[in-house]
Amino acid sequence: MNIPPGWAWLGQALLIIAGIILVIWLCRLGERRGTAYLADRPAYLRPLALLGGVLALLSALLPWVTFELNDGVYPELSTLQFFDEPWGVTGFRGFILLLGLASIVLAFVPIPAKRRVYRAIGLALFGITLFNTGFIIYYGGGIGAATAADGVVAFGGLVGLVAAAVVWFAHRSGPLEQVPLWNSKVSRAVAYPVLLLAFIALLLVVAMLLRAGTTADGDSRAYAGPIFLSLLFFISGVILALNGLGFTKWLTDVSDKHRLWSVVVLLGCSIALPFTEAGTDYWMTIAVNIGVYAATAIGLNIVVGLAGLLDLGYIAFLGIGAYVAANFSEASAAAFGIKLPFLAAAIVAAVVAGVFGAIVGSPTLRVRGDYLAIVTLAFGEIFRKAAQNDIGGLTGGANAIPDIPPISAFGQSFSAPLEIGGVKLPSGVLYYILVVVLVAVVMLVFANLKDSRIGRAWIAIREDEDAARAMGIKTGQAKILAFLIGATLAGLAGAVFAHKTSTVAYDSFQFIESVTLLAAVILGGMASIPGAVLGSALLIVLPEKLRDFQDLRLFLFGLALVLIMRFRPQGLIPDRHRRAELADEGVVEAPSQEHNVADSTPGGGAAVTR
């Protein structure tokens, strides 16, 4: 009797899984042992940092790939190049070189919070080397691609990994230092230029990131993913290091104190993006998408981040706004023959979405917590079904509403290229500016509301609803208001969305889109405005850059949600309130044993005395 084929496959799969678990286990064990050994040996910092730095330099100069991969030569001439051009390395090997040099130099320079900086360097090195090595092995079809094959050796990747580990261990020598606190009370003469420079740097970094891995025409080139991610890891490392030095904290404090100037500069920088190397048609479209998403995400942030109400059907409000705008646009499939000027249509869209928001929010009067999430999900699905079935002839059903004309003002169509004083700007630049204004307005609404009577009421409800009511807060009203305002902002974004994409179809508003918006909010950091923008940007730019992994997109997305909740529930740029709430409670290991021994919150301690 033949053994059916599945069993052999199952055996293999189990072996592979066991292998992966073993490797992870070994790494964790090594990390723990190494940490324990180094904990009281601060003197090891310098030698380890030096060794790691040298290894990193070596890794940057060694070849990385033994043969040409399928899509052509791996970027930055990493094939078969052995100290050929020591000063000519660029791209990811350039980053490794820089990180290695930094590691060596900093070993001799007295700076505060050194270990925090080495942690950042180690992480950046680790990200770059692991990803590139992994990619080479995966794409080259075996370990040989990154080590030795056909008599050719290329150990750059492995040396890089070792370098990363050594630098990481350098930071484990002794306890992490406190983040230094710098005096943020500086005069305008200092603050203004510093903020200006910082925002210009931010603009350049964004432009660089957008352009990473593209050809001169802006098309995606081979290995765009590794190129982009290497740059991203490098920049993240730099930011993490600045964070460890207390610089970012100082900068945010300074910009808090000079708010108006910061806003002006930020707006100026945003509008300057089309003039940078990212000023192509393609990136203008992406930037507009990010803006629409970010505006919607900030609206959602009012509901989820401030008021603490989980909404799983939020994309419906974007949809409602889009359909309303489409119907007033004089597209041939529009239900009304009237064409409203864009601004009027946008306001109608916002109002209609807001009304629906209040309707969807009204069950909050009676429904709490998780159940509310389900109610909102149900509303979202009802909307999608209704749109799919062309309810009232308003949505076009499966045919969608196509051919929505672009916005035009002063005789200039927003989707056409623009020329000002001889400078030719990419098409879509006007949409981009419109979206910048939209996001700015939405941010202003969010920031002002958060810092007001109603915003405090929302936060109070999020933290303890009964206590909020005992403070005289009419929680029902406040929650419905949160839904109403959030939906209004989404409706506004929807109006822009309709004109920009020119087609509004029901399948743009699926459940997964609501989850994506939620993910943008969570990834960036709940209740945090820059967080929502960053989250939206990442969730839109990453899939664009990682076309090599397009199939894995949703899988990685799900995995990211799980990992964020597990390891960084406060998000990338946490809000001050949220940080306090989530940082400690979010990641309690094995709570069941600790629970009845000592509850670390003072409030919880009260229960013990009774």
Binding site: Y371, F555, R566, G586
Partner: protein
């Protein structure tokens, strides 16, 4: 008359599947107050598990004899579902047990997306609907009623019977056995239960195991009854099942089953008679869900929750 009866029967068959999944939702929510969004996906994965077992894990001679094939599929599906449920509990939910309530819920969403993608990417042909063999005896039962005939497929009957028998057995287990008592205790007050010597972790894992096993059974029945499956099967069925659990009253086994049947019947009969037809059947279910949550949040058989201060 015949049409109504026919739709009613289809509804009960659908309801039986929903009920089996709803039991998993209701038990997990009852014990750790988590809406395990991924439970619907566990069900979906188990259908593919059953199919994989049939295709690649049993000899051809078994494939020809349906009782052997069905048994093997059942084992395959249940094993897959249980392993998945336990892994999920251990690695995704347990670390978050004391986290703010949003965290596990969002994790559940993430797990659900992941599971769906894993199947879509790794199961050959799963980017579209995949055929599942019938693996059951093949005689539809026909009744004569005034105005026509009503047919109930043998697999449909099986679904209804298994759902009811499964729920009864579960009820007996929970009310009679030692572990069942531990579960009820943990659901009411985990801290006190721990003081009484109940290990909450074991109890919670057991809850996931039972929920997973029932989802596995539901998976096999779904496959042999409908004869095809795609990766979207989990989401909607999962939402229906959750609705059923809420309708019946979360934590109540009887409620989950009756809720399941009600949902099934609303979908088929409502799709026939309510305005909008089948295009809006889903909408009616969601409207019912919202109404129940707003006006009777404790469901048909649940106990009202008291405000604590």
């Amino acid at each position: 008359m015949a049409t109504l009866l026919q739709q009613l029967i289809s509804g009960l068959v659908l309801g039986g599947q929903i009920a089996l999944i709803a039991l998993g939702y209701t038990m997990v929510y009852g014990i750790i107050q988590l809406i395990n969004f991924a439970h619907g996906e566990v069900f979906m994965v188990s259908v593919f598990g059953a199919l994989a077992t049939y295709n690649w894990f049993i000899p051809e001679s078994w494939q020809q004899t349906w009782p052997l094939a069905l048994l093997a599929m059942l084992v395959g599906a249940v094993v897959v579902a249980v392993v998945l449920a336990v892994l999920m509990e251990r690695f995704a939910y347990r670390p978050l047990r004391n986290a703010p309530r949003l965290a596990p819920l969002i994790t559940a969403l993430g797990v659900s997306v992941m599971l769906k993608e894993i199947v879509r990417l790794s199961f050959p042909g799963a980017t579209a609907a995949v055929h599942v063999p019938r693996a059951f005896w093949d005689e539809p039962i026909t009744f004569k009623v005034p105005g026509g005939t009503v047919v109930i497929g043998s697999t449909g009957l099986l679904v209804i019977v298994v759902a009811i028998v499964g729920a009864v057995l579960l009820q007996v287990y929970i009310s009679r056995s030692r572990m069942g008592r531990a579960m009820r205790a943990t659901a009411q007050d985990p801290d006190t239960a721990r003081l009484m010597g109940v290990d909450p972790n074991r109890t919670i894992v057991l809850t996931f195991v039972i929920g997973g096993a029932l989802a596995g059974v539901a998976g096999v029945l779904y496959g042999v009854h409908l004869n095809n499956v795609d990766t979207d099967a989990g989401f909607l069925t999962g939402i229906f099942a959750f609705t059923a659990a809420v309708l019946g009253g979360v934590g109540s086994i009887k409620g989950a089953v009756i809720g399941g049947f009600i949902i099934g019947v609303i979908k088929t009969v409502g799709g026939q008679y309510l305005p909008g037809g089948t295009a809006y059947d889903l909408v009616w279910i969601f409207v019912l869900l919202i109404l129940v949550l707003v006006f009777r949040p404790q469901g048909l058989f649940g106990e009202p929750e008291r405000v604590r201060a």
